[in-house]
Subunit: 411 residues, 2 copies
């Protein structure tokens, strides 16, 4: 093309490329995720693994077509919030709180064992103590989104093991917050016990208040709103506002936005009509693939240049799997072997939570780039390994005493 | 707080603020939009005006809490795509193409009259010719999203006037592309007639092929996919992929992404089940407020420092309203006075399209900051003025010959 003809072509390209960014990114992520999910379903594997792998393939490790950016990570955040919101809508709060003591024990052991194992391994590897402690902290937090998605898609959310996993994951998040707060303050050379205690109190108060009274309060608010609101789809609008409102509140008190989203769903469970469930499903089906593929996007296999790093990654991955399985499974052993195994595998995925902890460590300068890559790999690999294990644990064994056998499928 | 206690608080704040950004922005925009929509519905005004005003209030003009950013504009883009997709799902392509000739005339007059008036006013104002031409171009493109949302929410999409508005808006977009391409190449001092002709041919071919054969093709593809696909909500996944696929293709051939989204909906109209309609509705209800509030966010009333700019803005706004009303209304006069008025007011909103043209002019250095502010004001103000007028034109007058009286409400 001669310079004389460039301007016109250029202006079209300029306009085009600006308008192209959003639909093209949407098309690539969504179509790749659904294509791989379809392939995985056909070979009798969980579709969710395909969706995460779609991110790995589009990301820097393989094709390099996409890398994490503001828009994609915002969509991923929305995706995991809607995922947990949808799960919350199917959970009866009264039953969840009944399982509280068992769930608390599962969560506590599921925090302690991985923390100690992660710290021990990285210490023995010869890394500085503070780095080892941070890796331990990154191995703590369960990414409940992955497990919840598998359970919801198979209609297994009403099983006793599922409910314990959900409750334990919430408590796990609170404990993870405290671990992160303590570890970070150690890294900065300052430990203020009172502030940590205050953080703990605030987070626990939020969880207890919303979990116990949210559903009751919504039972009074929703019918009144329904009568009086004139805007279209008022009930859905109300649900969305509660979702983001509790997500914001959760972040303010220090727990994850998804805990707020989950509680928003639980508060509305049984209080809103099927129409709202359908509409939430529509938003979730659009957004969840961005959460799943977004996890995969963060992997950069090219970071593994040395064989020693590959070895460390493999060891940490095995430790991550084993520590949650053993820690959570054994602490739930009195419920019987089947439920213990289900709970053990259900708590394995680390996903986005482990990555956030590693990122904070990187930001504080206590985790090296190499170790960061290893932790991200561990976090993603656990999400890829867990779904098939969850499927086996739940679908090939019969639970002795399910809470309810009438499982309601969401798909 | 003493320096010794800062680090721990800081790390929590750091983590919090990062995780807070997305849910807080979602909460602010969505809640403000729905609150104002509710207030407007109660005073018997269209809720859509409230949602746009929510953006004005949150934006730099009033509160200054939010300004346009990558994430919000991506959500706005998704919002308007889902809006047009949902509208397309309710349109029967055969009826739309029957109205083609009338729509083409409406579109042509609706491009010519505003273009000439905008150019004339800014010329008389004493601005350079090229700036006047660009303002004229910015007054051309109808923002069909606004009108479509009002019509859909009142269940009026099946009226003859509605269908002509939709068809004319698509043709308008193609004509607007050509105007923009020509004006831009003039601004760069180079006019290549062959490239403009090629652009026109490509855009027209896309519109004709997808509008005529899309629905027929989907009638064959969807049932086959439904039978064979194993992934959950396969039909919805397919619809979303078609939506983004045609949006990307539309941008490649030069027309707006929303034209592709509209065609994707039209291709699937009557070929997918009610379930897909419900799920699309769920995504649209979440995202559309971001499109509407996003329009309002772009207004910066603080830019109007001089009274002469306020006067010019008022004159251009009146011209923008009058030129579309007269140009489109008169060219549809043979359908009777009622339909002519309906079509005239339905084509008034400029919204995001006018802003994009003004932005390109700004980028080329042919539009000054002052005139840019005036054009943005014109674009937003037309979207605020139009919905009440549309409501009056459609709901207080009886159409002589509606295509179908069984209007299907989407709300």
């Amino acid at each position: 093309m001669t310079p004389g003809t460039v301007p016109f072509a250029l202006i079209l390209l300029d306009t085009a490329s600006e308008g192209l960014k959003v639909p093209l990114a949407m098309l690539m992520v969504f179509a790749a995720a659904k294509l791989l999910a379809e392939i995985f379903e056909r070979i009798h594997q969980p579709g969710i693994v395909g969706e995460i792998l779609a991110g790995v393939i589009l990301g820097p490790s393989v094709l390099g077509w996409l890398s994490p950016n503001d828009v994609l990570s915002a969509l991923a955040d929305l995706g995991v919030m809607f995922l947990l919101f949808r799960v919350g809508l199917e959970v009866k709060p009264s039953e969840l709180t009944k399982l509280g003591p068992t769930a608390a024990l599962v969560a506590a052991c599921g925090v302690l064992v991985p923390m100690v194992m992660g710290w021990g391994i990285v210490s023995l590897w010869g890394q500085p103590q503070i780095e080892a402690v941070f890796v331990g902290a990154a191995m703590v937090a369960t990414s409940v989104g992955i497990t919840a998605q598998v359970l919801a898609s198979k209609g297994l959310l009403q099983e006793r093991a599922s409910q314990i996993i959900l409750a334990a994951a919430v408590i796990d998040d609170v404990l993870g917050l405290l671990v992160l707060a303590s570890v970070s303050s150690v890294a900065r050379g300052q430990v203020n016990v009172w502030e940590i205690a205050l953080t703990a109190a605030l987070a626990i108060a939020f969880v207890v208040v919303v979990a116990l009274w949210g559903n009751h309060a919504m039972g009074k608010v929703v019918p009144r709103m329904q009568e009086n609101m004139k805007v279209a789809e008022a009930e859905y609008a109300l649900a969305i506002i509660l979702l983001f409102g509790l997500a914001v509140l959760a972040v303010y008190v220090g727990v994850a936005a998804i805990v707020g989203a989950f509680f928003a769903g639980m508060a509305l469970a049984g209080k809103v009509g099927q129409r709202v469930n359908d509409l939430v499903h529509g938003a979730a089906e659009l957004l969840v693939p961005f959460f799943l593929a977004g996890i995969g996007l963060h992997v950069n296999l090219l970071a593994f240049r040395s064989s020693s790093m590959i070895l460390l990654a493999a060891i940490l991955l095995l430790a991550a799997i084993f520590s949650k399985f053993a820690g959570c499974g054994l602490s739930a052993y009195r419920l019987g072997r089947t439920d213990a195994i289900r709970i053990g595998v259900g708590m394995i995925p680390r996903g986005e939570v482990g990555m956030v902890v590693a990122q904070i460590g990187l930001g504080l300068g206590v985790i090296s780039e190499n170790i960061y890559g290893v932790v991200v790999f561990m976090a993603v690999a656990t999400t890829l390994v867990a779904p098939p294990l969850i499927k086996i644990a739940f679908l090939t064994t019969e639970s002795v005493s399910p809470i309810s056998t009438g499982a309601t499928s969401t798909t």
